[in-house]
């Protein structure tokens, strides 16, 4: 019984943490990402790739985190069947902010992602690179 309570309790903490991160991520998205990727995350076809229902994003979450932190994925990418050859610039986000904005993107519009991206995870990825 105690174990069940512990599980429930951790679930609540986890979802609260994620909610707060998504909230902070929304402000960052509006400040730094929305101009290109648009408020509904649909981007502009052929110019700025969509984030909503993006097959590329969900297949390449690690690469996307590194791209947000360091700027642009090099080379052409195909997102939902459309080719994108632009280059995203480094927006100067700190690792905790990268985590927040990723949590927002992965859990907004039609997107859903079970896990939570943390500052530690972002740092780990960047240092590995």
């Amino acid at each position: 019984m105690r174990f069940v309570f512990f599980l429930l309790f951790s679930c609540v903490i986890f979802s609260q943490e994620k909610e707060k991160s998504v909230e902070r991520g929304k402000l960052l998205y509006e400040d730094l990402c929305l101009r290109c990727h648009s408020p509904d995350g649909k981007g502009i076809k052929g110019i700025y790739p969509p984030l909503d229902k993006s097959d590329f994003l969900f297949k390449h979450i690690k690469e996307s985190i590194i791209a947000v932190k360091k700027g642009g994925i090099e080379g052409d990418i195909i997102v939902n069947g459309e080719k994108y050859e632009g280059y995203m610039e480094n927006m100067g986000l700190y690792s905790d902010e990268v985590a927040d904005v990723m949590n927002y993107i992965l859990n907004s519009w039609n997107n859903k992602y079970d896990k939570i991206i943390t500052e530690e995870y972002v740092d780990e990825l960047i240092n590995k690179k």
Binding site: D31, L32, P39, G71, Y87, E89, N90, M91, G92, Y94
Partner: protein
Amino acid sequence: MAQSGSVHAWGAWGRRFKSCHSDYFIKFIYMKNIQILIFLILSINISCAQLGETYIRDDETINIPETINYEIKNIYSDVEIPWSIEFLNNETIIYAEKRGEIFIIKDGKSIKVENVPEIYLRGQGGLLDLELHPNFANNNLIYISYALGSREDGGGNTAVSRAKLIQNKLTDLELLYKGEGNSTRGQHFGTRLQFDNDGKLFFAIGDRGNRDELPQNLSLDGGKIYRINDDGTIPDDNPFVNDENTIKAIYSYGHRNPQGIFLHPKTGKIWTNEHGPKGGDEINIISKGKNYGWPKITYGINYSGTTITDEKEHPEMEQPLYYWIPSIAPSGFAYVSSNKYKKWKGSLLTGSLKFKYLERLVLNKNNKVVYREKIADSIGRVRDVKESPDGFIYFTVENKGIFKIVPKE
């Protein structure tokens, strides 16, 4: 891409059409006479067409050049965001990367400049413009604008410094101006640097994403064009030096985000272009103490499509010399003063970040834009454009390189 322009114009027209039609339709409900209906349909179409004209203008189309008697030559390609270029002499270019590095380019080879000041990389902010002192040949002074600050300082704001450039090293770095009121917002740092014929330095700080508080308030930095002496002191004849609670370096206000500037060689006036909201990019001639209206008056609308203000004119505010519909996202601004290119003398050049070309504008004697054309169509995000001391046009393109326009014999 041209389609998005017409969509925007028709969108605005459509809104006007809808709003002015609805009243008539309400009235129509009470009328059954078919003749009145016909009369109404005719009259509303006339009145709406008149309203529509403020949105749909003659000079909206941009042209493809009929003859191209020049070549676009890539002279250096190892770039990311080459925010600005300057000429140390006819053969030597110095350029700034937004991420915080400066390079000297000669014969296609680059040398990194050392001791570049620390910058605050955030959104549109980073290392921005470079400008040589008018007497650079003797004093080696170079002026640098950039975003300065840190997370601990609550974000950053635009700064202007000067340093001596000796070989490839910066020495004696001196901060001349730093906008107060740091912010972590990524928008609208400006800026370009330009000396005028009196040796005064002009630069802009954009509205920093805070249009409601900054551009119309003379006691706060942001949304202004500034004028300082070459050593950073404030000229005695600046417009607000004698007023209380004003920032003395301000020269004009009510700006959104100027990222293009040149000194007109004939009039000695400072010309700027600035990023407006959707459909509100502008060209302005900068006059002392004047209010350029942002955000009280604008020809643009929010990027979301909502209205900022219905006002486009105000008796105490300046009208732009030109405004772009659709917005091109202008960056860099140059006046063609040489005879190197057939029929180009007197034209203006600006990069379009959005539509990825270099734009040439032709003005008539009354400073009205009468012709626009695309140079280097689809080349990429054009960041800066400059005329070299020997009269050739150079421009920079993000992730593509530095280009020279070479006239064909």
